[in-house]
Symmetry: C2
Subunit: 466 residues, 2 copies
């Protein structure tokens, strides 16, 4: 029997042809591939059986969750796509222990809703939350807009279950906050982009939902002022800053053009906008007092006032209703949509030491203009994490030209001790960057680990490890 | 030339015989071994040359830092001990970016002092801080008493440099808060107990030093009440609980006997003592007001008062001076000293889901007494992390008897979804537990990784991986 016949004995649901085609295509349309077939197992034993067969017959497998990635990590030319979309149960919510057990196919915003019902939050959030699935956030160690306070996916995950290349299931599903029983296999599999195993379930941390939030858009004179504001706000709130996002003028241009329904409260004519949010679980900080003031909001106003006096703040608008707050968030979360609306484009997802963002942007724009005088950019940054999403719109999409521009950007990143991939991962988009920029000894270690855990090289081949 | 002759060409400082003997012995005196020799390289290139030679000549190497471990991870029978004690420079402190770059031989309390001078803290702390060195904290993913607020060593480390088995140096020294450029090699090496590489330097996170702390010893009726107090205190402070430690009556017995100079403010006759600390960086919470009250302390009193009303607190003593505060800390940090003062002993370092500690202790004492009616115990727990240090004093130290007792404890731990090693690691002490208790697929993955990164098996052989 050939592979698909034997596969049919494991699962009756095999998609091929047009039905499979949409799984081989990313949402931006940059990576269009033709999978051999698509299967959607309902549980771990079924997925395990599929992997055992693929391993035996040496068929390449591409795991897929929400397919919202930006680096072509789901490209699947001639491969079997294993979608986890049907493994979508929230198995258990334990608010007193503050943990939730989920399957890999759960959609991020569904998880938000489920734990919200019991007064908890799972703090990971980003624009694609309505489509992204937990398995994908784990495979890519997703970041987002609340990393500053709560950490990235690795920081939020206590345990995982995963299927290895030969179908064996590894059980690392503890809900423990400390566990030094051997190598950190959990964090090795998280962020390995499906090249070492397929993550099927996880135990994630929950936090009590804040009782109040204070949210603002702030105009600052420059990035140094923004960093001063962040440090002061952290100190004044004992570390309660949940989001601290940077949207300069080139972002506002793109926002106005592609989401004119969203109107920034300080207008479009602002050089440096910071979007920030602080939060509290303390009842005394959240309850409106007799003067009609919520202490948390008063605290934010106080800090903004002092920073205004010090010349670090030019203007500010605080959200005065949940509707206003959500509209501010929407302006930030529309980033993927509005930055990818212009073509040709080059997506650079960079991280830098926190205090180098201003230097980077100045230097990059100067050097890029010398190479391409009509180049435009769109910048949006998780400034608190030193993470800059720097999208370029070159005057031509010719591969050589684009490569040269990426080289210019990455040269500066390296000079400043940064990384060419902050949170999007490697996939196929950043393979050449890995080859050129990653420490060669680290690359050798990655290759040795890949060969040790996937000796037949069938798991998401051609991704992540050059 | 033989190995030691060639080694002499790399370093003039080779200890042998009696000079080497103290490096082969742990501080408790449980593991006494005779090293082949001891070298103490001054920098990474020298350490790299030593490893290249050891690799070529297939000589086993045991890396050693402060030698304060409890699991025999530094046992070195016939091996070359590579001590990092001379690589002890704090290379750079950057308070505005909140990072410090250190070499592996820096003593933890020296690091505390160095960053304290610029108003920062490196929050990792535990009893052995005056001897433990950063390299050891990284090799074992050390925990300690502030994990609840700041995380364990992995959470506090942004970048590392390490020497591989063949002497090559891997540079993962970024100070980035987000970096998804490939597998998480950093976290794989952290906690690998010197079996995959020797960590030589690190970039660590700093936090602004709190402006005020409020510290108390509290008598609670039971462990459920303790957990209720923790959750309420977290909510009332928006997550500012820095330490939440549990010391039941059996701990007080041991304290009274071995450190009579330390007198607990609530006396020895308390069933369940919680030692807790909250902190703030907010000036307004730290400054004494016109009534002579520090708002942070008032807040703690308020929560303790409410919990007293609710029956969750029986009595409490707050530290009213820094001297009192330090004495309370000393009562906790004396744990290693006072628990190991009685022999024979069995050290169990367990973690459990946070809400299972009470069940565990009741069940363990019941089952252990059936096996050994004269057994005593000493319990001290990082309760906020679900981490229980449960030391047993059996009526006999016969290996079979001790093994049977460990089995009883670990059976219960497994039943409750816990781990047999929370923060001490595996070394040689927990190898049999790894063999019996660890998921066999996870063990296979560990063996595959060990073989891939240390194919000649010369790095800390016989440890961690059974």
């Amino acid at each position: 029997m050939d592979f698909l016949e034997r596969l049919g004995e494991i699962t009756g649901d095999i998609l091929t042809g047009d039905d499979a085609a949409r799984y081989g295509r990313d949402w931006v349309g940059t990576y269009v591939t033709t999978p051999l077939a698509v299967v959607r197992p309902s549980n771990t034993p079924e997925l395990s059986a599929i992997m055992a067969l693929a391993h035996e017959m040496r068929v390449p497998v591409v795991p897929l969750a929400g397919n919202t990635g930006l680096t072509g990590g789901g490209s699947a030319e001639g491969a079997l796509v294993v979608s986890v979309e049907r493994m979508n149960r929230v198995r258990d919510i334990n608010p007193s222990a503050r943990v939730v057990t989920v399957e890999a196919g759960v959609i991020l915003s569904d998880l938000h809703d489920a734990v919200g019902d019991v007064g908890m939050i799972y703090p990971m959030t980003f624009g694609a939350k309505g489509s992204a699935r937990i398995g994908g956030t784990l495979a890519t160690n997703a970041g987002g807009s609340n990393v500053l306070r709560y950490g990235n996916t690795r920081d939020l995950c206590l345990g995982i279950e995963a299927v290895l290349t030969d179908g064996r299931v590894v059980d690392l599903m503890g809900e423990l906050h400390k566990d030094n029983s051997g190598y950190d296999l959990r964090d090795l599999l998280i962020g390995s982009e499906g090249t070492l195993a397929i993550i099927t379930a996880a135990v994630l941390k929950l936090y009590p939902a804040p009782r109040a939030r204070a949210t603002a858009m702030v105009s600052v004179p420059d990035l140094d002022a923004a960093l001063a504001l962040l440090n002061q706000l952290q100190e004044d709130t004992s570390g309660a800053v949940e989001a601290f996002e940077y949207m300069p003028r080139d972002y506002m241009v793109q926002l106005r053009q592609h989401r004119p329904d969203l109107t920034p409260p300080l207008g479009y004519d602002v050089d440096h906008t910071v979007f920030l949010e602080i939060a509290t679980t303390r009842a005394g900080d959240a309850q409106m007092n007799s003067d009609g003031v919520v202490p948390l909001s008063a605290r934010l106003e106080e800090t903004l006032g002092a920073m205004f006096e010090a010349g670090h703040v030019i203007d500010a608008a605080m959200a005065t209703s949940e509707g206003q707050r959500l509209q501010m968030w929407e302006m930030r979360e529309a980033a993927a949509e509005i930055t990818t609306a212009t073509k040709p484009l080059i997506i650079c997802d960079l991280s830098l030491p926190r205090d180098r963002a201003a230097d980077f942007l100045r230097e990059a724009k100067e050097r890029l203009s010398k190479r391409d005088e009509n180049i435009r950019s769109c910048t949006v940054a998780h400034l608190g994490d030193g993470n800059i999403h720097f999208t370029l719109y070159p005057s031509s999409g010719a591969p050589d030209h684009c490569d040269a521009l990426v080289e210019i950007v990455e040269d500066i990143v390296r000079e400043m001790g940064g990384s060419f991939s902050a949170e999007h991962g490697i996939g196929v988009a950043k393979l050449s960057s890995m080859r050129r920029r990653k420490d060669p000894v680290a690359l050798d270690m990655m290759r040795a680990i890949k060969a040790a855990l996937d000796p037949r090289g069938i798991l998401n081949p051609g991704k992540t490890v050059p």
